[in-house]
């Protein structure tokens, strides 16, 4: 793991991975969307509305997955001071926030026809909203300092503290009565979802994850470049000050 904390090695590796992750994202999203919208059956209870699930559920997984990734990067940055870990945590935050928002939005659109309400303050929905606020707080905090080092450190601590919300989201539907139904896929006794609907769901989830890898690489590169520019500028200012 420590081997990959080197920015030069990351850039070399990123170059190899990027075309693959882009291809996987494109193919599995195309196939996933086709099966989700056209090639899969309607649900016995919900009819055609069930198709919202193929975006909603993978988006929710992404929201939680990105947060876990962000927390792990933050821990690596705090403990081992890996220069890259901070940048990758920072690069993951907007992706996670976007997918969490997408999850809440599609959930709301799905809730109205099925449950009869856009929103309910039940434990699952509320903890997911808290996740969105944690992302927003992280993004605000990481940019709130003139010294990026301090911003990274404060935001990393916030990311770790907020990580306690992740198990709460996952098991909220089992611990308390909620309007949201319990887990369909990741649960004891195997998925409660027909294979014809599980396959497009997993394809979409794979596509979203591959998309995250692409964005992580692109934003990671940009962050490394930005840091290099900052170092060069500082050196120039320093040199100019000495020349005077």
């Amino acid at each position: 793991m420590h081997r990959f904390a080197n920015p030069a090695r990351f850039l070399r590796l990123a170059k190899v991975i990027l075309p693959w992750s882009a291809a996987i994202a494109l193919l599995s999203l195309a196939a996933g969307l086709y099966f989700a919208l056209l090639g899969s059956p309607a649900d016995y209870q919900q009819g055609e509305s069930v198709r919202i699930m193929y975006v909603h559920v993978p988006a929710a997984w992404m929201g939680m997955f990105c947060y876990v990734a962000m927390a792990v990067f933050s821990a690596m940055a705090l403990i081992w001071k890996h220069p890259l870990a901070d940048l990758l945590a920072k690069a993951t935050a907007p992706v996670g926030a976007a997918f969490t928002f997408l999850c809440l939005l599609t959930g709301s659109l799905w809730g109205k026809p099925m449950w009869g309400t856009w929103w309910a303050w039940d434990a699952r929905l509320t903890s997911m909203l808290i996740l969105l606020f944690l992302y927003l707080g992280y993004m605000a905090l990481v940019n709130a300092f003139d010294d990026p080092e301090r911003g990274h450190k404060a935001a990393a601590i916030l990311a770790l503290v907020g990580a306690v919300n992740i198990p709460v989201i996952k098991w909220s539907v089992d611990w308390w009565n909620t309007l949201h139904q319990p887990a369909s896929v990741v649960k004891m006794g195997g998925p409660a979802i027909d294979a014809s609907m599980l396959v497009p769901l997993l394809l979409m989830a794979l596509g979203f994850k591959a998309y995250w890898v692409c964005i992580l690489i692109l934003r990671g590169r940009a962050e490394i470049a930005a840091q290099k520019i900052r170092v060069i500028r500082m050196a120039q200012i320093h040199a100019a000050a000495q020349a005077e």
């Binding site: 309607a42 016995y44 026809p113 434990a123 309007l179 139904q181 027909d194 014809s196």
Partner: protein
């Protein structure tokens, strides 16, 4: 112990303490985190009349009746039932045997006056043909509270 190790243990201990604290708080306020009560909760806890709350369960088979604009049905958790009256638009998924959450007040005489009815569905997703086949072969697991 190196500084890295010290930081590692510090982070691990911190996470453990934080997780423990959150677990304790959530356990302590667990009662207010539930979105609805079951009919059994309502009957055993003797919740005062007139307090606004939510009751959840299944719509009892054969209990739905229309009285003018008002729909009357019973919400059950398979051990206790609460009679509910509601005047308004029902969600599409509302039907007998279906999960439901009703919001409103308990009136004198044990009748629940609902101001909002929300449908609750289970975690099963399958095409209609599969559901029909399961019901036909008797493998449909329906009595389960969702």
């Amino acid at each position: 112990m190196t500084r890295k190790q010290r930081r590692l243990y510090f982070v691990l201990l911190g996470m453990l303490a934080l997780g423990g604290a959150v677990a304790l708080v959530l356990t302590a306020i667990s009662d207010s985190l539930v979105y609805f009560y079951s009919p059994t909760d309502i009957i055993t806890q003797r919740i005062p009349e007139g307090r606004r709350m939510r009751v959840g369960g299944l719509v009892e088979e054969g209990s739905v009746a229309k009285d003018g604009k008002t729909v009357i049905f019973k919400v059950t958790d398979l051990s206790n039932t609460i009679p509910v009256a509601y005047a308004g638009i029902l969600p599409d998924l509302f039907r007998e045997g279906q999960g439901v959450v009703v919001e409103g007040r308990m009136e004198k005489g044990g009748q629940f006056q609902a101001s909002e009815v929300l449908a609750k569905h289970d975690e099963k997703y399958m095409p209609k043909e599969v559901a029909d086949a399961l019901k036909k072969s008797g493998q449909w697991n329906d009595g389960k509270k969702n």
